[in-house]
Symmetry: C2
Subunit: 332 residues, 2 copies
């Protein structure tokens, strides 16, 4: 029986329609696994030896005389750090020069690696780098929002094979972000606590969408997941700012994200995916009603006209089934 | 120079980043045009002769002894008319049985036709049918929103080749829709008029994003278009309800939509696209601050992590360039 489910934070509705479902394993992609590619590509701007094809690095993790991770300004960025973010009218419309800072995190020297296949200490380097660059970009006086994300594979919007993630700092806090905060404020002012903390507690109580739980983080498919295998990694400790993460938490997050990605890699054959770390606007301080988190969206389905028009997603695999499928995959 | 632009209605920001641009014609898809396919497919449930493969029609346009358009309940619908839309708690979360009405408009008996290639009187039948079915479904006491949309091609989320569009009636009015209305209410209560009417007037004044203008409709790429060739067809007469459209307006809308689709077909080689007719919730009456419209989104780019996280789209082709490209294509 199809069912509407409401997202506890945004109040958006999702239709869970399992009658139309494939079995979870039918989403496994038929394609060459990335690990079978060459370890080095002479034409790749991110491969060792081609460092002059990128702007100078803003952050490097070295291993002996070589780098094992580099952060470089995005040469093909949609935003530009030399512009001025002042709002300017265009008739009755509003514009601003495209100020912003865009960096690429080159996650590994090896061309055919991915976060799912690289060793845990490399994963930790990546997350530690996210924290350092987030904190550094947040100090820019014109920056109000810092977004960390990864596009893995062509269906997720990237054409570059070399493992990388991105960070973009913008002067605008878009309504898409602010609307969630406003809903959370209403909840907080009504009930006196963080709606994300309440949601997490309820997910832990209902149990059937939890994939695994550690001391500091919970990895789960949420009650109103919009797409098959959409998964969240939530810190148990309330904080609205990703850069508040401690060293001990970084250790566990590296383990949790790597485990989740390995389960997806094994269960769905290296699917394309996006992930995003949502954190409060850097222009706000620590907020009682916002809760940073990592959301990963495997690109297995195509949003169509109904989703565009209504924002209501049709999810053909109940999140309970996705969570069970991922729980049952052993990647130790 | 990249530029932020704000959507006049939603206040969402778009980054127009032409430095990363392809030329408009580089989006032309390399694939077999649909018109080269067979006119009849014995395995297609929508082809003549297979009427027993769909539920009985709810609406038919005949030509002699044959049909030229059929509306049938969607056999694989995500919603079900026999359920009850009552909200039910699931612990602290909220759900409802998946009540809804989903119909498929089979636009033409010929398997290889498309709205861009069929004669104008068929296009008018399709739009007239949209109006009739919209009005019929709106009378259901549990229905609060009726969404008409078309998914054309696999990138737009359809696997069925036979030309068809869809209509889904739901009991929920999602925040995605209501948020726009709330922004419009604020504008209306501040300035005393419909923000969509003001936006249209401003687009006509600025001129450079207009593709063509008729007596009743304006076809244009908007100032803050989120993707290349995203185009709107706006009625000049203020009304929040699509089913208020008159016969004379239906004639012109058929011409406008067909002309736009033919320009896209010729200029971008039959691109995949979604279109949606947005109209006010059927549970509301005629609204002073809402304005029905048709929005078409060719599927030429892939939204990625940044778009998912922020709602800010990066558009690599300025809408002025898209409008000029489409203006210059002669399809008469």
């Amino acid at each position: 029986m199809p069912q509407f489910r409401q997202n506890f934070i945004t109040n958006e509705w999702v239709i869970v329609a399992p009658e139309r479902a494939k079995r979870p394993d039918q989403f496994a992609k038929e394609h060459e696994q990335r690990a079978k590619r060459a370890v080095h590509d002479a034409n790749c701007p991110f491969c060792p030896g081609n460092e002059d094809k990128t702007p100078p690095a803003t952050y490097v993790v070295n291993e002996g005389k070589s780098w094992r991770l580099r952060v470089v300004p995005n040469k093909f960025a949609a935003v530009n750090p030399d512009l001025i973010p002042k709002r300017e009218p265009v008739g009755k419309f509003l514009s601003a020069e495209g100020f912003g800072i865009a960096e690429v995190i080159i996650e590994n020297p090896l061309h055919n690696q991915s976060l799912a296949t690289m060793p845990i200490d490399f994963m930790r380097d990546v997350l530690k780098t996210y924290k350092e660059r987030y904190a550094a970009l947040a100090t820019n006086e014109h920056v109000n929002l810092v977004t960390i994300f990864k596009n893995h594979g062509p269906k997720a919007g990237t054409s570059l094979e070399h493992p990388h993630s991105q960070i973009i700092a913008t002067p605008v806090v878009p309504p898409h972000v602010r609307y969630l905060l406003q809903q959370a404020i209403l909840y907080h002012d009504t009930y006196g606590n963080c709606p994300h903390c309440v949601m997490l507690e309820e997910e832990l109580k209902q149990k059937d969408r939890i994939i695994f739980e550690g001391k500091h983080f919970v990895t789960f498919c949420s009650f109103a997941a919009r797409t098959p295998f959409e998964t969240r990694i939530f810190p148990k400790r309330h904080s609205s700012r990703f850069d508040s993460i401690t060293d001990e938490e970084l250790d566990e997050l590296a383990y949790a994200l790597r485990t989740l990605l390995r389960k997806l890699y094994a269960g769905l054959n290296d699917p394309d995916y996006n992930f995003v770390i949502s954190s409060s606007p850097t222009s706000d301080g620590e907020l009682h009603y916002e809760h940073w988190r990592l959301v990963i969206v495997p690109k297995l389905t195509t949003p169509a006209g109904f989703e565009i028009g209504t924002g209501v997603f049709i999810n053909t695999v109940p999140p309970e089934d996705c969570a069970k499928f991922l729980r049952d995959i052993n990647v130790e």
